[in-house]
Amino acid sequence: MARPRRASACRPRREEKRLGVHLSGEATVDQSRRDFLFIATGAAAAVAAGATVWPLIDQMNPDASTLALSSTEIDLGAVPEGQILTVKWRGKPVFVRHRTKKEIEEAQNTPLNELRDPQSDAQRVKKPEWLIVIGVCTHLGCIPLGHQGKYDGWFCPCHGSVYDTSGRIRQGPAPANLEVPEYAFLSDSKVRIG
């Protein structure tokens, strides 16, 4: 068995070209029909590849069982004034804070121009005694500690971000206030998050 490959060097260049390239100088009518065929085939193959990729990507999105868990109901009766309840919602902690009069006043009386991410307290709560925020530091995702820091709001131990009693960023590297999730009061003592 000799090695026939060597000779392939002298094969006509045109045969080594890819689809859609002229294979020989034939009549132009035939040529354009051929080009059309090649383009149609190539396009169809490209569509097939594209359509195949989508299920492979979409499978990483949240599945039906995850989406079904996207809301949770909380009983507020069990949270005394001054306490923070932590509940799990969509895999993250949500802080439900039963604020004291003093805390509400502090939150409401803070001038907006002192804030990095200006938001009034009224924009962040539905009932002043209940502050509901997602307990994830807006810096890099750590969980801040309650009743700590200069403003007695939250303090993030990872990089020192300080939040006030309305969950607004006051000091440290975090760029934004603690996020307020979508929620609704179902009754005086019941709230649905999500």
């Binding site: 065929l37 090649f38 085939t41 097939a48």
Partner: protein, 298 residues
């Protein structure tokens, strides 16, 4: 040389016979007795011997809305089937699917409010302890699995003698032997037969033909079935005027269970049709492209 070839041919013929003879014998063993139900008759089937050496008829092929190239579920039928499941089967069998899937628009298609109300009629034990460290009971939510009648198969076995199988994949988990050569035809387009499990379950539900023995079933292998006759005429109320007969209950509940085991069937067949048409066009294009290019090679 010629002689050698003759010998080879003869031995090949012999081998071929040896290979398929048992199959042929099995397929022709006995004709299948007429079905005991009023269903539409499909192709006749051979009856293979059972493990116990006893024989029983093969189930009859039914026509189902979900069979064939364009099969879909009949929403009203699935809702009736769910009612039969809920009122009868659920007393002993679990069905481990989430409530939320009952609102699947290609399935039973109950409204979200109906599903929520249904889920709330069940008591569900939380999977995680609450802040007191207890696994609290609470009303069910659409995201919960439908709770079974027993906490585990052992409890069911203790109460009933034998644990009834979970119904979430029941129809896919049942079959009957089709035998040679039917099993080949079953795979081919336009006659593809993928509902053997449904036909088997349907046949069993209709197979309690001995009034004096409620555990005797015509279609169950060996005839002695642990589940006593579950359905009787008029047992479940239908509000849409559908006849309340055992045959109709069986048809509806089997359809429902088929959906429960294969909830993506409608989407699958819809996408499948597009894929098939597309691939056929692509193959044709490739064939002509290939021909064009190869013209130059000769």
């Amino acid at each position: 040389m010629i002689r050698l070839r003759t010998i080879a041919l003869a031995s090949a013929a012999l081998l071929g016979f040896a290979a398929f003879a048992p199959a042929g014998f099995a397929a022709n063993e006995q004709p299948s007795p007429p079905p005991a139900n009023e269903a539409k008759q499909g192709a006749s089937q051979p009856t293979p011997p059972t493990e116990a050496g006893e024989e029983q008829p093969s189930p009859t092929r039914q026509s189902w809305s979900f069979s064939g190239l364009f099969g879909t579920y009949d929403q009203a039928q699935l809702q009736r089937g769910f009612k039969v499941y809920h009122d009868v089967c659920a007393n002993c069998h679990s069905l481990s699917i989430p409530f939320r899937t009952l609102s699947d628009p290609t399935g039973p298609g109950f409204s979200d409010a109906q599903v929520k109300a249904l889920a709330a009629t069940y008591q569900v034990t939380d999977t995680e302890p609450n802040d007191k460290g207890e696994y609290a009971k609470r009303p069910g939510r659409p995201s919960d699995l439908i709770p079974g009648p027993y906490p585990n198969p052992e409890a069911a076995a203790a109460a009933l003698g034998k644990a009834p199988p979970d119904m979430s994949t029941l129809v896919k988990a049942r079959k009957y032997e089709r035998g040679f050569p039917w099993f080949i035809f079953d795979a081919l387009p336009f006659d593809q037969y993928q509902e053997v499990g449904a036909d088997y379950v349907y046949a069993v539900l209709n197979g309690y033909t001995k009034a004096d023995d409620l555990n005797w079933n015509l279609y169950y292998p060996g005839h002695k079935i642990a589940m006593p006759k579950p359905l009787s005429d008029g047992q479940v109320d239908y509000t849409d005027g559908t006849p309340t007969t055992v045959a109709q209950y069986a048809r509806d509940v089997v359809s429902f269970l088929y959906w429960a085991s294969e909830p993506t069937l409608v989407e699958r067949k819809k996408i499948g049709m597009r894929v098939m048409v597309f691939l056929i066009v692509l193959s044709a294009l490739l064939y002509f492209t290939k021909k064009r290019v190869w013209e130059k090679a000769h």
